[in-house]
């Protein structure tokens, strides 16, 4: 069930990162919005992880090397623009991927059909903020560009094949996914008066590493915090 783990871990980890914003958002409406997105993702994660086993065992008792999420989603929040850049890159990818899965007749079609509606809103939320920050003030423009640049190198991994997901019946065509993603992101970035980053997106350490269980250093601290209470009471129910 590596595909369920890959998709489930993406949702679980990004939800956790968004949950870290609670009480720190720049405006009250964003407290509500970021929590809503985190809740949607957590709901998706629970369904996906349950396909692969016990949701809590998988979330709380795996070691870092056993997680299959993209390195992109585990990146620390940074400032609001950095979080929005992560949201843009991931939600456009997830929206296109789930759209394809929903249209296919693979095992994730049902889940994807439901989730794609949620993800459409996540994408809209990210795009609207990229426009506002890119075309807002000088400072917001600089911060938004910096967020896009910093996370660009983590985006290549999204287009690596995932075992169990890229079957003919699933409807996923990685090349089409990548070109669709690039076109959509380019469009938003240009409308926001920003510049599409030019650095490498794939190759080297970054490409496909998260899916292989190779994560970045902040991820270890993130799951240490996430897992410590559960692990401190072996066998307990909550």
């Amino acid at each position: 069930m590596s595909a369920a783990l890959a998709l489930g871990d993406d949702a679980l980890v990004l939800s956790h990162r968004l949950g870290e914003w609670a009480g720190h958002a720049p405006v009250l409406e964003e407290e509500v919005a970021l929590a809503n997105i985190a809740l949607d993702l957590l709901g998706q994660a629970r369904v996906l992880l349950s396909l692969a086993g016990d949701e809590d065992e998988l979330a709380y008792l795996r070691e870092e090397r056993a997680f299959r999420n993209l390195q992109l989603v585990e990146q620390p929040n940074g400032d609001f623009a950095h979080t929005i850049a992560r949201q843009l890159y991931f939600s456009v990818y997830q929206h296109l991927l789930y759209g394809r899965l929903a249209a296919g007749d693979g095992e994730f079609a049902g889940l994807a059909a439901k989730a794609v509606k949620e993800v459409a809103y996540h994408r809209d939320h990210a795009e609207q903020w990229v426009l506002r920050l890119g075309d807002g003030t000088e400072e917001s423009h600089r911060r938004m560009q910096s967020g896009l640049d910093a996370l660009w190198r983590f985006t290549g991994e999204m287009f690596q094949p995932v075992e169990g997901l890229d079957s003919p019946e699933s409807g996923v065509d990685r090349q089409a996914l990548e070109s669709g993603w690039l076109a959509a992101v380019t469009d938003v970035v240009e409308r926001a008066t920003l510049t599409l980053p030019t650095g490498p997106r794939s190759g080297g350490w970054a490409a496909g590493a998260g899916r292989q269980g190779l994560h970045t250093e902040p991820f270890g601290r993130m799951i240490a915090e996430m897992q410590h209470l559960h692990r401190s009471h072996p066998g307990a129910s909550w």
Binding site: V27, E29, I37, A236
Partner: protein, 379 residues
């Protein structure tokens, strides 16, 4: 969580009265004494007949000021109250509990939004109220100046703090000011859901391992007395409640509500298998109610003065989030101005981001948010 205390309704600062100056203000130039007397008579008659006062109705300046202060403190309590619980989101011990807790903290942000909006009908603005909070000129409920030290504290806050808040707030659904009363109807539904979730969390701990049971008991020991203090000082020391009672902003005395809360909690604690940390609780046959031990009001006064365990931490985090978010709000405002359609006024940052957020809100509430479920459950 929402914890407007009776004490807060009685504070003396009436400074915002004229600044508020909404549509129904007596500040209207050229008003004659006779007209003013007529307004007051109509207002008094409406309150006496249990009718709602609405934003465009005339109201005494002091009534407006009292409401702004109380609603602002209530709204501030919601957003400060997010902090002690958000403290556990990243450590919630199961995914189900994590979803419940995130939804709850999100509800509190939502309550803050309703309440700031309701307060705005009186002629103030969210920005102005937040500035006062950050400057220490308006309060939030003192209960949030206590720390959440263990996971069980999340349950104790739900059971006791939300429970006390509901006891205080249910009567506010009949408050004479319409927008506040209507906001409270929705808030109370959500709060009662939070209260049951907290109870259920504690029940799981109480019936769990020895360590979990001990964690639950420790949390109840720490939160019980501060929860009782949420009802405000004893009636004989609360001389300012009288006007709020007459205006039907407040409907029951502090001691009356406190006693009602104890009566609710005693059998619930028994069902939980947890002890309330008060050896003097006993049934009073004559009153048909429980007697309980003396409250240490010196602690309450100290926390109120700013000397609680977390006063500094809470307000510092709030100010920091606001200051660090300034560039985002400025960007939203600048964008809205640049892209405002011709002939319409530029949108404020709040309304600009509200439109962005509305889409995301619709998404989760349609599916997995506990907020969506509990409205139905308690409706």
């Amino acid at each position: 969580m929402a914890a407007v205390t009776a004490h807060q309704t009685t504070q003396k600062t009436l400074g915002t009265a004229n600044a508020a100056g909404g549509p129904g203000s007596t500040a209207a130039a050229g008003e004659t004494d006779a007209a003013a007397a007529g307004h007051l008579a109509a207002f008094d008659a409406a309150v006496a007949a249990d009718e709602r006062i609405e934003p465009r109705d005339w109201m005494p300046d002091a009534y407006r000021a009292t409401l702004i202060r109380q609603m602002a403190q209530h709204a501030h309590s919601e957003i400060i109250g997010m902090q002690p619980e958000a403290n556990w989101i990243t450590r919630a011990p199961s995914l189900r509990r994590k979803a419940i807790l995130m939804a709850k903290v999100q509800d509190e942000a939502g309550h803050g939004l309703y309440l700031y909006s309701a307060a705005e009908t009186l002629g103030t603005s969210r920005e102005e109220l937040l500035d006062k909070l950050h400057a220490g000129r308006q309060r939030y409920s003192s209960i949030f100046n206590y720390p959440t030290l263990t996971w069980a504290d999340v349950g104790a806050i739900g059971w006791l703090v939300d429970g006390a808040a509901i006891t205080n707030q249910v009567p506010l659904c009949r408050c004479s000011y319409g927008p506040y009363a209507r906001a409270m109807v929705r808030i109370c539904k959500e709060e009662s859901f939070h209260q049951r979730q907290g109870y259920e969390l504690l029940l799981a701990l109480s019936r769990g391992t020895e360590a979990q049971h001990a964690m639950a008991q420790d949390a109840v020991n720490r939160w019980w007395w501060p929860s009782l203090m949420m009802f405000g000082p004893p009636d004989d020391a609360s001389s300012h409640s009288e006007q709020s009672m007459a205006w039907k902003i407040k409907r029951h005395s502090n001691d009356e509500l406190r006693r009602r809360f104890v009566d609710i909690c005693v059998p619930q604690a028994e069902a939980l298998g947890l002890d309330l940390p008060d050896p003097d609780i006993r049934w009073n046959e004559e009153l048909g109610s429980h007697d309980f031990g003396a409250i240490d009001w010196s602690e309450f006064q100290e926390v109120l003065k700013g000397n609680g365990p977390c006063n500094e931490q809470r307000i510092t985090q709030r100010r920091r989030a606001h200051e660090e978010g300034a560039w985002v709000r400025e960007a939203a405002a600048a964008y809205a101005t640049k892209h405002a359609p011709a002939q319409t006024s530029p949108r404020t940052p709040a309304s600009a981001s509200a439109s962005a957020s509305a889409s995301a809100s619709a998404s989760a509430s349609a599916q997995n948010s506990a907020s969506a479920q509990h409205v139905e459950e308690t409706a």
